[in-house]
Symmetry: C3
């Protein structure tokens, strides 16, 4: 996606006071789909955003500081284009957090990158990168995760963290990559967070581990995971195991996925399993099977369809994304047809 | 207005991953006016947005998919530039609905256009296109409409609909044009909506009919209208009749308008009449006469002034846009002087 | 800063309907810093926006109307990039006021400029222009001001005013400059406002006076100030005196500042003093000393550090910007290290 951005203004020649080359890029994704969702007894027809890729509108830029250093900013807002919302809120809950997806300023050099602001956490990357559906839509492995919302701990740091300072390893380390992130709590429960990620990507192989800790008062919320993918050419297989822990509750999320291109069409399939134990939640296990097709009309525009089915244990009510809430122990099914345009 | 947009980035040459030509456009309108409004006993001096054209900030783009097909997105936010607000909220009521005016993704080809998202409804077009004041400012015909806000039914679908799927007839049908729109209710009262529009425009003539239905619980809210305009060259005459119905209440809104250019100046005049019956609202009739001048400093920038007067029946308190609420049976007057800049 | 903006789209050739030259500019500042703040007994580590320059994202444009006239719009949103917020709200308080910093439309000619919308007030300029820290960060002179928030009067017009009409003197008056601003109250307490500024800038000297009045119900809130700077080359000295008055309460804020460039590094130092009397607030005096360094990596990107210390009288609890509230009579200290990027 990032490669298809449109450069809006590219030359320092336009900017009287700048001595080095600089660019600003406007980019975005509009993804809309019609979905039929059955959660337990009820079924619903809805229009969804975010089902293939996450809807977004962003501004980013890079300045060449000379001496191998650059400064770069990245401002990225989520969007709910079915109703016109932008940022961290919804149609019924207002929010000023417009750039909820990312709001960062970084300095990059031979040492790597120092990055400040609201950014993705190291542990999130291993779930989304190694999910056949990119943690979007009816097939997202996170449909089965209570750990993603902190297992009731109040931790708000699964996907992104406010007030963060991050360090990224530089390129050129023979395939090794890594990220460390700490974020200030600023007196808000569930915000103070430390995380670490280390990976190796070379040729068809990509493998990565991450571990994180969020202070939430008495106990810490902890999450650790490992993910990997291998591209056989005809198909790419991938998967991850993600362990969340808060007090006595432990959740293990296991995902196995596959993507296979056939010309302009790509088949995607994924199996996800939730194993929860402790804290009286031993019956919160669940399984999800999802399959989908993506047809590229161009590099920017694609049609897609997905089908997903969740089997819930007696104490689980996981559902397929949008629609009415599910009831305990009932299965859920989701089907969608949509279009994604990136600009 | 749409023709004066600035193309910010136009060539696929800037976008490494795109194979077809693509463009993104930033556009907008800032319209501010000083107004003197007398509603019943009280009078007030205010600064207004939206009095000649609706204030907006938008991003839109078109991608050529080849084979006569295009994909296009349109993100358009309203603005209250007198106080700096953007989107669906106000200074006192926050909203995350930034792209409240339009938030759509469409695919266009020889078959016409399929468009998804938050969009204008078919029935709204016939009121705004055939209103001498474009349903903006002191002269807007909608100053007299309770049907525009659903006659108390809870329908929120007069101007725009969330979660909509629309189909538009292609061009090249000898002047025939048309639109069908359905929108999902998603458990919100007054959102589930079906609408239809069919028109004919050729030479100086434009005529169009539309009909719509919104589910609101027990009864449906229904609106149907017909509008037409004829351009004699020296002047363009126009008008519409709009019927709203909810339960026993019926509102008929009749508008007659005229626009006449004199060099850089355009005279605008309009007469609007509300006839309401049933449900105990037989005394909610009202009449409005409005006149205004627009002076174009350029294609983008114009100065304007408007005067409007409303006569209310005993059970009506329609008022001239902004300012304090009117009292039953009292007349209202509005006067403004403003400037509109489009970019 | 304004000189380093990137022109995104500059030629009318891109805009079919425009006859005159026109431009739209996207601009902004991302400024993030790590701070250690000690207010009274408590200390806190936080990430801040706005500490060297105010974070912002804006769109502005100018159209040449011919005959020496131009039309220009300016839409500028504040940002809290540590958490991704935009506009007038915060992470915990939502707001639709996106363009909270400025939202204006102006017409400029030989007569000067007429400007409508939400704009900076004349009296604010004299505090920020003649403050060594530009009223940002731990060294801001406004850390010591209760007058900035209206001395409890409800006036909301210190920095900016909604619904304003402003007139600016044209250039070419031999160094004389000036601004008059009136703003409509629109039934909101503390909004109706009149202000005036007159200054003289020539060679190394800049001096300016301003006076303002805001209606708040029974009493008016009044603010008057005088500021001046003189650039000796090796260093620039500056200062201002700002008098706020509401009922029996009078606050005098006095600032003395210095900026001195050493190659790419600039030293900044400031002393600020609050003298309050009347209304039982005679013990609300306070003093602040601040010092800082800015190191320019380029014209757009700078590293900076600041240290500030406040001494509070028994009835004062002024604090160094962010962090927990201070307690009466306790001193406060702040230290930050940050990076600012302008685009």
């Amino acid at each position: 996606m990032k490669k298809s951005l449109i450069a809006l203004a590219t030359l320092a020649a336009f900017a009287g006071a700048a001595s080095a080359q600089s660019s600003v890029t406007l980019f975005g994704v509009v993804d809309l789909s019609a979905a039929h969702v059955s959660n337990g007894g009820g079924t619903q027809r809805v229009m969804n955003s975010n089902s293939y890729n996450s809807n977004r509108l962003g501004f980013r830029g890079v300045e060449d500081l000379g001496g191998g250093m650059t400064a770069q900013f990245w401002l990225e807002a989520g969007m709910g284009n079915d109703v016109g919302t932008v940022g961290g809120g919804s149609l019924t809950t207002a929010s000023s957090q417009m750039f909820n997806r990312r709001s960062t300023l970084g300095l990059t050099g031979g040492f790597g990158e120092i990055r400040l602001g609201r950014d993705y956490t190291p542990q999130f990357w291993n779930t989304t990168v190694f999910d056949a559906f990119g943690t979007n839509g009816p097939g997202s492995s996170l449909n089965l995760s209570t750990g993603a919302s902190g297992l009731g701990s109040g931790a708000t740091t699964f996907v992104r963290a406010n007030n963060s300072i991050g360090y990224f390893l530089p390129g050129g380390l023979g395939g090794l990559y890594g990220q460390v992130q700490v974020s200030a709590g600023e007196n808000a429960i569930g915000n103070k967070h430390t995380s670490f990620r280390l990976g190796y990507a070379a040729g068809p192989l990509n493998v990565s581990v991450a571990t994180s800790k969020t202070e939430t008062g008495v106990n810490d919320f902890k999450m650790s995971n490992i993910g990997a993918s291998y591209d056989f050419g005809a198909a790419k297989v991938m998967g991850y195991i993600n362990n969340s822990k808060f007090g006595a509750v432990k959740e293990r999320l296991t995902h196995l996925g596959l993507t296979a291109p056939f010309g302009a069409t790509t088949l995607r399939a994924g199996y996800t399993q939730n194993n929860t134990s402790g804290g009286g939640f031993d019956a919160r296990d669940a399984k999800q099977f999802a399959i989908g097709l993506v047809y590229d009309l161009s590099k920017r525009t694609a049609l897609y369809t997905d089908f997903s089915r969740i089997s819930n244990s007696a104490g689980a009510n996981y559902s397929v994304g949008s629609g009415a809430a599910n009831t305990l122990g009932h299965s859920a099914r989701g089907f969608d047809v949509g279009v994604r345009h990136a600009f």
